[in-house]
Subunit: 149 residues, 2 copies
C-alpha cells in the first residue's frame, strides 16, 4: 500500500515503478513552475554545453541520458536561436564542436534562479540529508545498470 488504498502486489516498492512515477511528477512540476518556458531536458543540454565546451554531440547526449538522435532537433533549435555555436571539429571531420554563446549564457542565467529555487524546495521538503542520499543512490543505481549494457 504505497499509494492511496490500491494494492501494488508484487510491484510494491519496486524501484522501476517508483522511479517512473517520481520522474513523471518531477518533470510535471518543473514544467508547471517554469510555465513551459523551457523544458528540463533542454536546459540540461544547454548547461552541459556551457560547462563542457568543445565536446561532441555524442558525449553531450550520453551525459544528458539522451539518444544521439534526440539531440539533433534540440541543437538545431538552439543554433537557430543563437544560443549555441557549432563549429566543425579540427581533428575529426565528422564531429561538430559546440560552444555556448553570450546569448546562451544569458538564457541560462535567466532561469538559474527559478530552477535552483525549485531544487531548494526539494531539499527543504526531503531534508538535506535525504536529498543528498537520494541523489547518491540514483547515481549508484545508474552505475549498476550501465555496467551490463
Amino acid at each position: 500500500m504505497t499509494n492511496n488504498d490500491l494494492s501494488y502486489g508484487m510491484l510494491d516498492r519496486m524501484v522501476g515503478l517508483e522511479l517512473r512515477k517520481a520522474q513523471t511528477l518531477a518533470s510535471q512540476t518543473f514544467l508547471r513552475v517554469l510555465e513551459g518556458r523551457i523544458l528540463p531536458g533542454h536546459f540540461t543540454i544547454l548547461v552541459l554545453i556551457a560547462h563542457n565546451p568543445g565536446q561532441s554531440q555524442s558525449r553531450i547526449a550520453e551525459a544528458a541520458g539522451l539518444d544521439r538522435s534526440s539531440l539533433v532537433p534540440i541543437l538545431k533549435h538552439f543554433d537557430n536561436n543563437g544560443l549555441i555555436q557549432r563549429i566543425p571539429a579540427r581533428h575529426d571531420r565528422r564531429s561538430k564542436t559546440m560552444a555556448i554563446t553570450p546569448k546562451g549564457e544569458d538564457f541560462i542565467k535567466k532561469y538559474t534562479g527559478e530552477i535552483q529555487k525549485l531544487e531548494d524546495m526539494l531539499i527543504k521538503g526531503l531534508g538535506r540529508e535525504n536529498h543528498a542520499k537520494l541523489s547518491e543512490l540514483l547515481i549508484q543505481f545508474q552505475n549498476l545498470l550501465k555496467r551490463d549494457s
Copy 2:
C-alpha cells in the same frame, strides 16, 4: 563530476536530472531483459487490475502514474487479447469496472519470475538496505510533489 569526465555545473546532483537518467536506464534494462515481450508500464497496469478488481480506469491510471487517456489504448489491447474484462459499473454508468481474466493471470505469472529476478539483481547490486532506502525516498519524493499539484 557524476558521469564520465563531463562537468554538470549547477546541475550536479540535481534530483530531477538523476531521476530522468535513472528512469531511462531502468526502462531500457527492463526492455532488454524481457526482450520487448512486455512493456514495463503494461505489466504494471495488468498487476494493478489483478490486485484491485472493480476499480475505475482513472484510479488505475493514477496508481500507475499515467494519464487517463494513456490508458485507453493499453486497455483496449488487453481487452482484445482477453487478458482483462470490462464490465459497466453498477452504480455509475460512465465508469467501467475492470477485472483480470484467467488468461491475464497466466500472462502475469509468465513474466513474474523474470521481473522478480531483475529486481533481485538490483537488490543485490545496491545492497538490501540501499534498495529499501531508495524506494522509500522515491515515495517520499512523490508525496512531496503530489501535495502542491
